[in-house]
Symmetry: D2
Subunit: 135 residues, 4 copies
């Protein structure tokens, strides 16, 4: 993984294509993590301003936790960190847990929860794929 960032789109060789693919995959996963962190924070704040906060407590707490782990995963990926894969596995788990909770409230018309659940599922998939490749 150490060489990823030094391979740009100029070369035409098998190794470079592998690197390019990996690089692109990292970039997409990283951006999915950042978008998910944003959606989680926006969902948490919107939940706090709903009439019935009481029933959204777990949602708020999972949103906040998910945002922290997504941000850490994005940062470690941007540093080409050695523990990106391990962190992506934890990230996929919290994203799925958060999505599951948000989906309950999305069914009752909470738009911010629907959007958040959607971002969490996308992020979970991206993280699982990255961890599966086993860099």
């Amino acid at each position: 993984m150490a060489a990823i960032l030094r391979h740009d789109s100029k070369y035409d060789c098998l190794t470079c294509n592998t690197f390019l693919m990996t690089n692109q995959q990292y970039q997409q996963c990283l951006e999915a993590c950042q978008a998910c962190a944003t959606a989680c924070h926006q969902c948490a704040v919107a939940c706090l301003n709903e009439k019935d906060v009481e029933m959204l407590k777990i949602c708020i707490q999972l949103d906040l936790e998910c945002a922290v782990i997504c941000n850490a995963a994005a940062t470690v990926m941007s540093m080409e960190g050695r523990f990106s894969d391990q962190l992506c596995r934890v990230c996929a788990d919290i994203c799925n847990a958060c999505a599951e909770e948000c989906e309950k409230h999305a069914q009752h018309g909470m738009e911010h929860c629907r959007k958040c659940a959607d971002m969490c599922r996308k992020c979970a998939t991206a993280c699982e794929e990255l961890a599966a490749v086993g860099h």
Copy 2:
């Protein structure tokens, strides 16, 4: 600012248009901060792997500091934080300082520094505009 997230694209009124504009501006600034944090970390790691690290020390340090502040600004914006503007002002300053340093090395062909300087300048502009509106 408290009501921003609750205004979606469904309404047609003056107040909502103001909110929408603001909302969009926040979203763009937030994403510029996240993209800048990523570019800064990628630049720092690439600098560390250059032959002449010695002359890139200041660049690495500014990259790291810039990434931390950009990430904090993005997070506070995603929470509709009251201190978004104040933080965006600090963010614009570190982004400009980092861009200035990166531009020196970009002149000598460092592609990661050129890309990082570009993202820093964009982020600085977005942050300055947001802070100027004075939410």
Copy 3:
């Protein structure tokens, strides 16, 4: 500020004493920021679990924002960042705002708010002192 970390407790000279004092002050401010971030998150979670969450909404939101800025300030200080002072000024402001809100609820017996307000005031003082020295 660049030389701070290289001065340890072994030397006996005027310059070094200045550095030591500064170093110690940074370390204390940094630790106050970390302790404040922790107290804010603990307060936010405890607020979410109170019976009357409704009246604690603003408290939760300020807690979360304060924690993010405190963490960023601590990180930038640990990196000997150039923008430590500017960030400490924003940090002092959000800490005072958060303390003010928490103090209202502390008066009504909320222990986590009392503890959080206390940490916020200590952190604000440390940040103001650091920013005043004008490194």
Copy 4:
């Protein structure tokens, strides 16, 4: 784990003692993570200012990655996050990896590496113990 923060030092019952113990353990682990993040950033900056940066590249990169994961673990613990244990496992791994690298340079007299390695080992132990309890 959900009830941890609501148990203070006032009660005398078996359950509460368990909660108190857990609470204390969390607090210690959280503080070890914060202290480790600080030591890692300070080590990275000190490494950057050493004469022979070249041989410290891996150390700097592990320092930075370790600091990010330690900070995330501390934040998630302060939120009583459900994924604290999983994150602590990753945190223990990166801490041990960082300590191993720092210990090499500590042998050659680098004081900041010795201090950083020490904090990393303490943090790894605290994280491992917490994860082992299996909250």
